[in-house]
């Protein structure tokens, strides 16, 4: 006779029923048995909640789940190194489980695809987080998925690409000009960051976290710092919260401006690229003037921020906001009125809203396909609870929609920066961290989507830290979005997604 497991209506109900693990903040963590794990997997597959992360830990795996109200971490102990695959019923878990298998050596039972993912057989070590057995690095061949049919040909691209881009391999199978399958192979820039984080002190942790994905250095440092602060039960001072948000919005502006120009450039419309490039450069220079680094790297640390902004810095930011407000409308208008450009972007690379929801795609990828999720609203971290900003959502899901979401978010970030400059509270920049222990989770909205950070700290050191880039749930969707498009539109689709290789590969 099988035990019946009640179907929980919400994650809050589940947390109440299971009993929370003490010392995990700010959202609950529960320990589940194998039967409940499988049940949660089925409910994921039914769309009752979303998978926001899945990672290994010593003797266990954790899954971060989200419903409309909140987050929950479900932990399954797997002392024998085996756990039931969530990917067997919920494909978004697939690459995460392949990564757990590579890094920890745990076996996801029923995993539909057992090819290695991050491990290219080059490290000279197997399961670096687990047994860490030394093996010869042979660089074994990677079997790509077969595509069979008449007149099909393959185009291998990468890992070294034609532009100044990160490395990854794309295997196209095409029928003439039409892509019938794209398969990505990633992991080329895997640096073993999570292994370096284990045992590191908190300052080195912030440094490493800020180097997961350079374009999101602020978002990562913020996510890491918030997770550590949650674990230790401290709150950064108000002024630090506001200056952190100022950096986060400048980072979003710089990246969105760069992306808008780059997408247009990939449609051979160079004038927008040049103008957006000028505005992006102005933002970086203002960031440099205010925070002492163009990308604002190493400015956010657990407990607060490093260094205040002087009046010259604020003036530089105010000036750049004025300039973008003055000049950006003409650029949007040019995008709007150029039929030959829209001919390339509209209707190209459509991501169905159903898929975006299933994969819990964050950022402009999700919001251009109907998924109204923004961690600034969902996780409601300060100071965003006290700021007014729209979360634009479109349904078309094409390259055009992803460009338009960015344009709307440029406007929103300009307004946020203005609000922050007007209402920035005075006071301390950081608090001293206690030497306690605990577990913390943070979800932060980077320009690309929600960055998740989970950390367990004790005596000022990191025992385990997991950082999940939004790209984990966006990369697989690019494979779907390009389906049926022509090969020549791939750069356009790829740029409109602008997934991070480094953030994904870690």
């Amino acid at each position: 006779m099988t035990r019946t497991i009640p179907a929980f209506e919400s994650l809050a109900e589940l947390a109440d029923a299971c009993g929370q693990v003490p010392g995990h903040e700010p959202w609950p963590r529960i320990v589940v048995d194998a039967a409940l794990w499988r049940r949660l997997g089925r409910q994921l597959a039914q769309g009752q909640w979303a998978l926001l992360g899945l990672w290994g830990d010593t003797g266990r795996v954790h899954a971060a789940l989200a419903d409309a109200e909140g987050l929950l971490v479900a932990t399954l102990e797997c002392p024998d190194g085996r756990f039931d695959s969530l990917a067997a019923v919920h494909p978004p878990a697939l690459r995460l489980e392949r990564a757990i298998r590579d890094l920890w050596g745990y076996e996801p039972v029923g995993l539909p695809d057992t090819r290695p993912w991050l491990d290219h057989d080059r490290w000279g070590v197997l399961q670096p987080h687990g047994a860490a057995t030394e093996v010869p690095a042979t660089g074994a061949d990677y079997p790509f998925l077969p595509a069979e049919g008449e007149s099909l040909h393959q185009i291998p691209v990468g890992p070294v690409h034609a532009g100044i881009i990160e490395p990854g391999h794309f295997r196209f199978t095409a029928n003439g000009e039409t892509v019938v399958r794209l398969e990505e192979r990633l992991g080329y820039v895997h640096k073993g960051i999570e292994k370096l984080l284990a045992g590191a002190d908190l300052m080195r942790g912030a440094e490493l976290a800020g180097r997961c994905s350079g374009d999101s250095t602020v978002a990562y440092a913020l996510a890491f710092s918030r997770a550590v602060e949650a674990a230790l039960g401290v709150e950064a001072p108000p002024r630090a919260h506001w200056l952190r948000a100022l950096m986060a919005e400048l980072e979003r502006l710089a990246n969105h401006l760069g992306d808008i120009g780059a997408v247009c450039n990939d449609a051979a419309f160079a004038i927008l690229h040049a103008h957006c490039g000028v505005l992006r450069e102005r933002v970086l220079r203002a960031a440099d003037a205010a925070f002492g680094h163009r990308l604002m790297r190493d400015r956010i640390v657990p407990g607060g921020i490093v260094g205040d902004v002087d009046s010259k810095g604020f003036a530089a930011i105010a000036a750049v906001i004025d300039e973008i407000e003055r000049r950006f409308p003409a650029l949007s208008e040019l995008y709007e009125n150029t039929a030959s450009l829209q001919d390339r972007t509209a209707g190209t690379g459509i991501l169905e809203p159903g898929l975006a929801a299933r994969y819990a795609a964050g950022g402009f990828v999700g919001r251009a396909s109907g998924r109204a999720f923004d961690a600034r609203r969902f996780a409601a971290y300060p100071p965003y609870t006290r700021l007014a900003f729209p979360v634009p959502v479109l349904k078309a899901g094409d390259v055009d929609a992803r460009v338009r979401i960015r344009m709307l978010e440029v406007d929103a970030s300009l307004s946020l920066v203005r609000q922050i400059l007007e209402r920035l509270p005075p006071g301390e920049l950081w608090v001293t961290l206690p030497a306690g222990a605990g577990e913390g989770l943070a979800l932060v909205e980077g320009f690309r989507g929600d960055v998740l950070a989970w950390v367990r700290v004790a005596s000022g050191r990191i025992e385990r830290c997991h950082l999940r880039d939004p790209s984990w749930f966006q990369w697989p969707l690019l494979e779907a979005a390009i389906d049926g498009n022509i090969v020549a539109d791939f750069p356009l689709c790829n740029k409109s997604f602008n997934c991070s290789y480094s953030g994904h590969d870690l």
């Binding site: 070590v125 532009g163 640096k191 350079g214 374009d215 000028v278």
Partner: protein
């Protein structure tokens, strides 16, 4: 579009004067150039960027070199799509073990005479990633390096100063 073009005509370019070559980069380069027995390159230099495991911050600043402020092409320096067309390989990142072979093959595909510029702290010695099971720890452990440009990431001005030093000495 006409209005934007007209505006640009009236306002003049935002492009700035080049920075002075960095003395440290010059010194390092002088040695490399001696080794290469004064091979002479044309004024027009082609650069191929290879990301060997960077966090992508160096790529952002390399991209910035093409924006109208820095306008790299005015020095006769341009980024090319294939190592077969390149004189200079600009390599970023600590060289991950998963990228090692790709870097070696890119180097092999670049015709002689060629120069390698390692960009960023990671490319020098692995930077914050040094010691990881997954990184080699510096470009010079895989291919010979003629010039290191430090920084995390180096600013476009620092990149430009380094590249200019390379160009002036390599002539």
């Amino acid at each position: 579009m006409r209005r934007l073009l007209f505006d640009s005509l009236l306002k003049g370019p935002v492009t700035e004067a080049p920075p002075a070559p960095d003395p440290d980069a010059l010194a390092e380069l002088a040695q490399a150039v001696n080794r290469r027995a004064r091979e002479r390159l044309g004024r027009s230099l082609s650069i191929r960027a290879v990301d060997a495991g960077s966090c992508n911050a160096c790529e952002l600043e390399l991209h910035a070199l093409n924006n109208p402020f820095y306008d790299l092409e005015r020095y006769g320096l341009h980024f090319v799509a294939s190592p077969r067309h390149a004189d200079v390989l600009v390599v970023t990142g600590p060289v991950t073990k998963n990228m090692r072979e790709a870097l070696e093959r890119t180097y092999a595909a670049t015709p002689d005479p060629k120069w390698v510029v390692a960009v960023g702290n990671c490319a020098a010695n692995g930077g914050v990633f040094a010691g990881s099971y997954a990184v080699v720890g510096g470009v010079s452990k895989v291919v010979p390096v003629d010039l290191h440009i430090p920084g995390c990431p180096p600013s476009p001005r620092q990149l430009l100063a380094g590249l200019l030093a390379l160009l002036e000495t390599a002539r």
